[in-house]
Structure formats: C-alpha cells, structure tokens
Amino acid sequence: MEPVLLQVLAGLATGSIYASLALALVMIYQATHLVNFAQGEMAMFATYIAWSLINAGMGYWPAFLLTVLIAFVLGVLIERVVIRPVENAPVLAVVVVFIGLLVILNSVAGWIFSYTIKSFPSPFPPALGIRYMSPHQVGALAVTLLVLAALYVFFRFTPLGLAMRAAAQNPVSSRLVGIRVGWMLALGWGLAAAVGAVAGMMVAPIVYLDPNMMAGILLYAFAAALLGGIDSPGGAVVGGLVVGVLENLLGAFVIGNELKLVVALVLIVGVLLVRPSGFFGRVHVSRV
C-alpha cells in the first residue's frame, strides 16, 4: 500500500501545479472564450525572470513577489498589444496568434538565457518534509492552495473581482453599468499570467529550467481544465489534482514513465468526446 500512497501524494503535489496553470487557462477562457496556447510559455518566461533576479542576489521570496508582479504587467501588456486586435477575428486567426506568441516567448527565452538546462532553487526548509512527501512537494501544495484561496476571496468578495466576473459573463450589460470591459479582460490576462508564474516557479525545481519545460505541463493543464469543465475554476482545481494523481499512478504502475504524456492526450480526446463540458462545466447549447 505504501508505494501507492507515495504516488498519490506526489500526484497531489504536481497536480496542484497543474491545477494552478489550468486555473490560469480557465480565467482567460471565461473572459474571452479562448484557450491560451501560450500560457505555458508565459509561465516559463516568468520563471526565467525569477531565476535572473535570484542570480542577481535577491532573496527568494522578494524575487518571487517581484516576478509575480512583472508577470502581471506582462500579461496585461500582451492582452493590450497582441490579443486585442484579434478579439473578434475567426478562431483560426486567434489560434495562429497564440501559437506565434508561444514561439516568440520560447525563442526569446532561448536567445537571452540559452538552451542549457538550469536548476532552480526550492525555497522550502527541510523541516517541512513529512514522512511521505519531500519539503518541496509540501511547500508547492501549500503555496498553490494559498493562491487558489486568494483568488477565491478576490473574485467572491471584492468589487473589482465582481466587476471582472460581470465583464466576462455579460459584457454588454456590464458596459451599461459603467464597467470598463476592455480593461477587465486585460486584468484577467494579467492575473492569469501571475498565477501561471507561480505555477512555473513551483514546477521549475522538479522539471528543471529550460525553454521547453512547460510543453508537457501545459498539456496536463489542458487535460485538467477540460476534465473539470473549461469554464469552471473549481473544476480546474479538482481536474488538476485528479490528473496529477492519475498521471503518477499510471506512470508508476501501468504504462511506465516515458508514456505519461500520452495519458494527457487520451484524457483530452476522451473528455472532449464523451463529455465536452467536463465534470463541472456548463453544458453548451447553441442555437442554429
């Protein structure tokens, strides 16, 4: 039983990271009905910024906070400059722009920071480790849960959070009551980028830092978001944890570590086919 428990706990730890990236995807989906293919690369880029800050002599936590802030600003900028012109464009154009963004971020990171793999520090003291989990796993889980709680409070109890939800749900009426919908979307992008940055910094000590580190993570996050329902934030969190546990258990006992990514592929295609709205998502009905 012990190996199983070990894998389940490890799965929860990585799953919480998938959950936060999935949450970033869901936030952008809710606001714009788009799936951001560049979300992983945005997180990767933010992690490189954190790495340079730490290397420049900054302490971990100040660097962490500064990175989240920078990621937020970058997210807002990307929405304003790159995404806004294609807001009402056909899906293909939007997907192409997202892919372009992915490629640019990936290559610019490689250009500036080189493609050599770097190690990224974990800030958690050894005392944090418990019998079945490493200190980093416990810490990552705690940080992610904290971020999720903060987001919940923000969206549920603050006027700005309410305005953002309103802008996403009904842009026309929101505009009529004086909400600046365009800026709410940009803020949503900023928040998503910030959450992604946290996910990147939490996963970097595990997968190591390199420009391609997020490809797999992004796939798991897609699977998590779809599993939970692409328009349900709570679902994304549950989905992330489920995907993390499933991936670890299947990888350890059934299909072997090298085919773990295929789990994500099967989950994505499977969910889209069997239950496109996921566990908690709204069933989408369209009128013809």
Binding site: V35, V91, V96, G256, L272, L273
Partner: protein, 330 residues
C-alpha cells in the same frame, strides 16, 4: 485552369527540371526538401485552408509517414519507392481514424486535441515496447537510394541527389494535379461550403461527417507521403525531429504561403526551408523568433498570405475586381 496559369505552371515545371544541373549537391538536397514540404503543406492546406479544420498536429502524421518508410526499408528490406504508397495508405487510415472523433470537435477544441497529438508523438516513438521497430531514441538510419540501373543503361547519368530530386519532383507534380482536381471539383466545393457555413452545407445535402473525416484522411495522406520522402532525403529518422515545433513549422508555412491556395503551399515551403537558414546566422533562437513574428504579422497585415497578395496584385494590374472579402481568412 486559365491559359496564362497553364503557361506559368509549365514554365515552372521546366525550370524545376533544369535546376539539378546548375546547383551544387547540397542545394539540390535543399530543393528536394522544399518539394517535400510543399507536399506536406498542400495536405495541411486541404484540411485547414479549404475545410476550416484547424490542425496543430500534422507533424505527427509526417512522423508516421517517415517512420513507416524507414521501418519498411530497415526491417523488411523494402525498396524505397515501394514504401511511399504504403506510408501514404497508413497515414490515410490514421488521419481518417483521428478525423472521426475530430468530427465532434470544432475550432479551438480541435486545435487543442491535435496540439496534444503533436506533443505526445515523440514519447510514443521513444516508447520501450516499440523500440525494436522504431529504434527508440536512436532512431533509424536509411541508406540513400541510388539511381536505378535502367537509367544508366539508357545513357542518362545522374548522381544520387539528382535522382532523388527528380523522384520527389515527379511525385509532387502528381500529388499537386490530384489535389487541384480534388479542390476545383465537387469535393472541393463541398469542403469549402462546410468551412464557410456548416449548417447551410448540411442543409444542401452535403454529408458533412464523411467529407470532414475524408478531408482529414487525405490531408494526413499527403503529409505522410511527404514524411516518407523527407525521411529518405534526410536518410535518418529520430523521435526528436518530430516535436510539436514541426507541426508549428507547417502552420507557419500555410499562413505565410496563403491559406486555401495550392500555389501557397510552394511559397510556404520555400519560406520554411530558407528563412530559418538565413536567420540561423544571427542566433540559434532567431529562426523561431522570426517564425513567430511572421505568424502574428501575417494574421494582422496579410491574412491571405503570399499567394493572396500576389493574386490581388495581378488582379489590380489587370484592372479586374479587387480581392473579395470572402477570400480572406476563413
């Protein structure tokens, strides 16, 4: 086909036939790859350009075609030319099968599913239980085919690079003619109708399910044949040549060349073959930065790609109508 277009096409083919005698062997190899990419892009364009189904995973079909050819040559000792139709058939089936579930996915979701396919292709090729067939991480080395004996007997002297170029050129011409027939006839009209208005197409009596999965199959077949030819030209297949970035390269090709345009496949192929070479001198990362900028730039400024821009240019010069808005990005 108009008379003018026919003349241009014949001139182009004649030029393509002369090329191997004026270029160095390395340039001939590059020209061969351009033709290979053109076939792959034509395949992707049938699906994404004409039928409006977004695929970010055509690198996976390219990989399947390449591996089919390599494994047949390496394991079964088949001659290279015999592997091409088999690779095509395998990809036709693979594409059709992936196209069936894709029927239920639209736009963004299809992009997601195909993206997942592209990302998980290298791990599948590396998998342990397939190692005997695929060669695992090491991949498979292929011997470059020699020109056939009957050619030498007939007094034509070609080296291996020149022969392979003509071999690929012949296949490319056949596939482009087939593609042109497919697109300009009943099938093509059905594909475009489905892209432009799914419900209306269905109401007109078009069996959208059959056409969409067929488009997926044919498109995968083209890309698979290109993969097989590419593997023979490069003489090597390995999992890490077929990452998600290969699929993105194809996307760059059809966006830059021109969506829903046959000639666009050729412009796109030239672009993805030569622009990285030029940009490479700047930095290892530069080709991709250039690709990314071009992707976004073309969507904003030139959504019909090079082919569309040329079309608009010639029409304006001829005093004809301007480009219709319908011909813009589907």
């Amino acid at each position: 086909m108009s008379k003018k277009l026919l003349t241009v096409t014949i001139l182009l083919i004649a030029l393509a036939c002369v090329l191997p005698f004026v270029l160095t062997n390395y340039r001939i190899f590059q020209a061969t790859l351009v033709l290979v990419y053109a076939i792959a892009l034509l395949g992707l364009n049938i699906l994404t350009g004409y039928n409006g189904q977004i695929s970010l995973g055509h690198g996976a079909f390219y990989a399947i075609g390449a591996y089919a050819a390599a494994m047949l040559m390496d394991q079964a000792g088949m001659p290279y030319w015999a592997t091409i139709p088999i690779a095509g058939a395998v990809c036709l089936v693979a594409g059709f099968l992936f196209g069936l579930p894709a029927l239920r996915l639209e736009g963004l979701y299809l992009a997601l599913a195909t993206f997942a396919l592209a990302v998980s292709m290298p791990p599948i090729l590396k998998a342990h239980f397939l190692e005997k067939l695929t060669g695992g991480v090491q991949g498979i080395v292929i011997v470059k085919p020699d020109p056939p004996a009957w050619l030498a007997a007939a007094g034509v002297k070609l080296n291996a690079d020149q022969w392979l170029y003509y071999f690929v050129l012949a296949i490319a011409i056949v596939l482009f003619i087939v593609g042109w027939n497919l697109i300009s006839g009943r099938v093509g009209r059905a594909l475009i109708a489905i892209r432009d208005h799914h419900t209306a197409a269905e109401a007109m009596g078009i069996n959208t399910a059959i056409y969409k999965s067929l488009a997926f199959g044919v498109s995968a077949m083209y890309t698979g044949i290109a993969g097989a030819l590419g593997a023979i030209a490069v003489q090597f297949v390995a999992p890490d040549s077929f990452t998600v970035f290969l699929s993105i390269t194809f996307l760059v090709g059809i966006v830059v060349g021109g969506l829903a345009s046959l000639s666009g496949a050729l412009y796109g192929a030239l672009f993805i073959q030569f622009v990285p070479n030029i940009a490479d001198e700047l930095s290892k990362a530069a080709p991709w930065a250039v690709f990314g900028v071009f992707l976004i730039g073309f969507v904003y400024l030139m959504p019909t790609g090079v082919a569309g821009a040329l079309r608009a240019l010639t029409r304006r010069r001829g005093g004809g109508k301007l480009l219709q808005p319908k011909e813009a990005l589907p």
